[in-house]
């Protein structure tokens, strides 16, 4: 019983941490992008200010917005918080982790995405349904690639539970695994596609015909929009955390050694900062692709992931 309480507390601490620092992660990425583009950015805490402003506004709903439109932001946020509680960020002793493995994690993201697409179709504007079908298209093509990416660590560790994967990979001697390298490249490509970053989608665009993810939230305002923006930031952070857990898992706490948590938190901050910088660099050097080049992009990611798996099976590396 005491074990369960400990793991529950460690779980709660990690989830709350991820949810709270997610806007900071977004702010860091935007700030890096601004520096790379030779301008001074809006500051690291800008997303918090935006959220604060949005929460205080009145919500404007279209006349024919139904209950799905109003419930979707809460469901999206709930799903992202659930995802944050499954992925090990500080330690692997999570009370909730047996409830979902990597496939269920993909399912959680799919649930959030389906609800946001349905909400976009709810008001019945042209741009909403345009965004919905593009989002579902990119999602359908990136899910096989994501599964293949998860498959390489799964082969190495013979487990699909993220905590077990982290435990096993963190304890291996440092060696060059080309299969994991290929899987990492594929994962980065899928991350860009799923989180609506350049080169698949421009998160800062205001041209409706080029939008994928932005088009889904055109009709939202006030607290609903705040929840959706927060959920997007949490999704990005969770994806980075998954990448860190699979490909750079050192520094995490085994069990509930409370003394090690600050060190693990420090390692996490450094890793996320590096990931954010990398993301900003990638976004700055690439241009957004046409929507129908996205299948080729995701096909390339699928290919990398399959190559990684085949190399693992042949070379054992």
């Amino acid at each position: 019983m005491a074990e369960f309480v400990e793991s529950f507390l460690s779980q709660l601490a990690q989830t709350v941490l991820v949810v709270l620092i997610a806007p900071l992660m977004l702010g860091w990425v935007n700030q890096c992008r601004a520096w790379l583009q030779n301008r001074s950015g809006p500051g690291l805490l800008q997303p918090y200010r935006v959220l604060h402003k949005l929460f205080h506004k009145d919500a404007l709903l279209a006349h024919n917005a139904s209950v799905i439109f109003r419930a979707a932001p809460y469901i999206q946020f709930g799903c992202m918080v659930l995802a944050a509680s499954i992925v090990p960020v500080l330690g692997t002793n999570l009370a909730f982790s047996p409830a979902a493995d990597v496939i269920a994690l993909v399912g959680v993201f799919a649930l959030a995405r389906v609800f946001s697409s349905l909400a976009a179709m709810d008001v019945g504007t042209a741009f909403g349904s345009l965004g919905a079908r593009r989002e579902m298209l990119v999602a359908s093509l990136s899910e096989p690639a994501l599964l293949m990416v998860f498959f390489t660590p799964l082969l190495i560790v013979q487990s699909s539970s993220l905590s077990s994967i982290v435990d096993a990979l963190a304890h291996r001697d440092f060696a060059i695994y080309p299969s994991l390298a290929f899987a990492a490249v594929a994962f980065i490509m899928v991350l860009l596609a799923e989180n609506a970053r350049i080169p698949v989608d421009n998160p800062a665009t205001h041209l409706e015909l080029t939008m994928i993810h932005e088009a889904l939230i055109l009709e939202y305002s006030a607290r609903h929009l705040a929840l959706i923006e927060w959920a997007t930031a949490v999704k990005l952070t969770v994806y980075c955390a998954i990448g860190i857990a699979l490909f750079a898992p050192w520094g995490m706490v085994e069990g509930t050694n409370w003394l090690m948590f600050p060190a693990a938190a420090g390692a996490l901050v450094i890793k996320l900062a590096l990931a954010g910088t990398g993301l900003a660099v990638l976004e700055t050097v690439s241009a957004k692709m046409r929507i129908f080049r996205a299948p080729e992009f995701l096909g390339m990611a699928f290919l990398f992931a399959v190559l990684g798996m085949l190399i693992r099976q042949l070379l054992g590396a």
Partner: protein, 670 residues
């Protein structure tokens, strides 16, 4: 209580006779709609409930058999209830209860067949399907199979005044009989020259590899024709839209599963030895069917055709699961074989629930709006809240989203795929995980299709002004919809109980029961191999999501309670916005059509520069119709024309035929 005291097999036989009696009672007052829908259909519901109880008992008990004093003098009917049959009988019961509830409220006008006749055909259909599941000899099986085909033909052509419906029914009957011939030949091979057509005798016979493969191929062809496997699927998208919605629900939900039952029975029970390439064939065929079905579903504009193609996709997934089971069984991995068999059976149960639910939803929509095309619907969530909510549950379930039931079977199947590199064959070792990617692609595209289905019908604005008068369904239909939605939710959050029941099936067929693993983790989590390797806890999941949603809602309301105002839609400031500007069904399917263009046969008619009234039309058709069916039909016609030379109406030539035959017989006899 009576059902507990009576053995399950006798109980099921009782239900079958009860249904036949109700069906015949429909003939007493054939034209009275009230009698049929308020008395007879509700009575039929009781039969379904008893069937569920009997199935639960039958799954947990030993196989029981019985010889009925019916049939021909030397060929009496043998019936048998073993756990495999009991699972499918339970499936039939669940679907029958929901659909009978719905039908009681659905048939409001007399269109085509008189209601009494409809009642007869419906209940005979249900009875015939039950007998197919119970049959223990080839004779009874074929009798019940044919009865099933014929009653469903009459049900499909209920509205026989419309010519398209008649031709759809004809195509259905034709392919059903082609399949039936293959099944008959399969039984002929299985009896191995002994002349005894009971299944008990067939189980004892050892066939050589050639004849065993012949039997498997014939079974796959014959049962695949009924299930809608590629390339014998063409009747599904025609027959399901032509039939009345409750009948489509019954056909899609239950009849296709009797074909799956047939494949399972022949492959694992009647054939003693399986070969690895059968598994590869079934896997490849299943995956191709799944991808084909979902791609075509994405480009449809008729809501019932969309669901029919989606059924093809799910049957493909089920057959792929069967293929995987065969591969694991042949390579002596009983744990994984049991896992994939459980996943397959679970998916059968799930599909029966959510596909019947969705077809019933289309029936309600058709009733209130009289529109079948997706381009004329929209915004119905405001007028039909009950239908919309149950349709949401059904759509989320079929898209394979947690915590509903579609995700559980998909998760189990993916576990089986992903833990496959342990097989001795290196080619399969590397190709099976890539096949898993194809399965995930099909599953992700089915989410796309369901967003299209739900979004275009229920969300957005009314595409036709008459939709504002649509009204919700009555209490009987609502009961049916709620019954099946409840089963979707239950099967999603209590998988451990279901898997324990399904273990009784896998133990005799593949010699393993994964339920023994489940003892360690309790009823909350499924950990089919071991908790360290993978686990999923749907109830925790559901509680987690609802908990977080409620917590967020209350926190936001407590700290940031801003007001709400209703305004016109923003639409990026475009001034003139009407309902025609939202996506049509073709529009929503356009990305799939563009990316997967080589798989469709698209005929476009482009407007010319000098047209007085320019038109554009694009029809998407099935390539297999032109590659396979039309050439076969033309060959048939040519052969028939060639033989037809013999028939020319001149009497003296006919007399000459008899004369020549007589002469020939005399010469060769003496």
């Amino acid at each position: 209580m009576l059902p507990a005291a009576v053995p399950p097999l006798e109980l099921i036989v009782g239900v079958v006779s009860y249904w036949m009696v109700i069906g015949l009672a429909g003939l007493l007052r054939p034209l009275s709609l009230y009698f049929v829908s308020r008395v007879l259909f509700p009575l039929g519901i009781l039969g379904g409930m008893v069937l569920i109880l009997a199935a639960l008992q039958g799954v947990a008990s030993q196989p029981a058999d019985l010889v009925l004093p019916l049939g021909l003098p030397d060929l009496p009917f043998h019936i048998r209830l073993d756990p495999l049959a009991a699972v499918f009988v339970g499936l039939l019961g669940i679907a029958a209860v929901g659909i009978s509830f719905f039908s009681a409220g659905y048939f409001r006008r007399v269109q085509g067949s008189p209601p009494g006749l409809l009642c007869l055909q419906y209940h005979l259909f249900l009875a015939a399907m039950t007998v197919v599941l119970l049959a223990d000899d080839a004779y009874l099986f074929m009798v019940a199979w044919e009865t099933m085909a014929i009653t469903s033909y009459f049900l499909v052509t209920s509205n026989h005044k419309v010519p398209e419906i008649r031709s759809a029914g004809f195509l259905y009957l034709l392919i059903a009989h082609v399949g039936a011939i293959a099944i008959l030949l399969c039984f002929g091979v299985l009896q191995g020259g002994q002349g005894n057509y009971t299944f008990a005798a067939m189980r004892q016979i050892e066939l050589s590899a050639f004849w065993g493969s012949a039997a498997f191929a014939l079974a796959l062809f014959g049962f695949g024709a009924k299930a809608g496997l590629l390339p014998l699927h063409v009747w599904l998208p025609e027959a399901h839209p032509a039939a009345p919605s409750p009948i489509s629900a019954l056909m899609s939900g239950v009849m296709l599963k009797t074909a799956i039952y047939g494949i399972l029975r022949v492959t694992f029970d009647l054939l003693q030895v399986q070969l690895w390439w059968w598994g590869v064939l079934a896997l490849v065929l299943g995956l191709l069917t799944a991808l084909f079905g979902v791609m075509f579903a994405a480009v449809q504009t008729d809501m019932k055709r969309l669901l029919a193609y989606s059924s093809i996709e799910n049957i493909g997934v089920i057959v792929a699961g069967i293929g995987l089971t065969i591969i694991f069984h042949v390579y002596q991995q009983p744990h994984l074989a049991a896992l994939s068999l459980v996943a397959t059976l679970y998916h059968c149960l799930n599909h029966a629930c959510f596909k019947s639910l969705l077809f019933m939803v289309t029936g309600s929509v058709l009733h209130s709006t009289h529109q079948r095309s997706l381009g004329k619907l929209g915004g119905l969530i405001r007028n039909m809240p009950w239908v919309a909510m149950t349709a949401l549950i059904g759509s989320l379930a079929i898209a394979g989203l947690p915590p509903l039931n579609g995700f559980v079977s998909e998760w189990l199947l993916l576990q089986a795929f992903l833990f496959s590199p342990g097989i001795a064959n290196p080619y399969l070792n590397m190709l099976v995980p890539v096949a898993a990617a194809a399965l995930v692609l099909a599953a992700a595209l089915s989410a796309y299709v369901m967003v299209k289905f739900y979004g275009v019908i229920f969300l957005g604005q009314y595409r036709e002004p008459s939709l504002a008068e649509a009204r919700d369904e009555g209490p009987w239909a609502r009961a049916g919809l709620v019954w099946l939605s409840a089963w979707c939710v239950l099967l999603g959050i209590l998988p451990v109980a279901v898997i324990r029941l399904l273990d009784n099936v896998t133990q005799p067929l593949v010699d393993f029961a994964i339920g023994s693993n489940l003892e360690r983790t309790g009823w909350l989590l499924i950990a089919p191999i071991s908790p360290e390797r993978s686990s999923y806890g749907p109830l925790l999941f559901l509680l987690g999501i609802t908990g977080t949603v409620l917590l967020t809602y209350f926190l936001v309301r407590r700290f940031y309670h801003g007001r709400e105002r209703r305004v016109a839609a923003w639409d990026c400031g475009f001034p003139a916005q009407n309902a025609r500007m939202q996506d049509t069904a073709e529009g929503f399917g356009q990305p799939i059509k563009q990316i997967f263009e080589p798989f469709f046969r698209i005929r476009r008619q482009m407007p010319g520069p000098f047209d007085a009234r320019p038109t554009y039309s694009a029809t998407t058709e099935d390539r297999l119709w032109y590659w396979l069916y039309l050439p076969v039909a033309r060959l048939n016609e040519r052969l028939a024309a060639w033989i037809g030379i013999l028939q020319h109406g001149r009497i003296y030539l006919y007399l000459l035929y008899s004369f020549v035959t007589l002469l020939g017989l005399l010469m060769f006899m003496l």
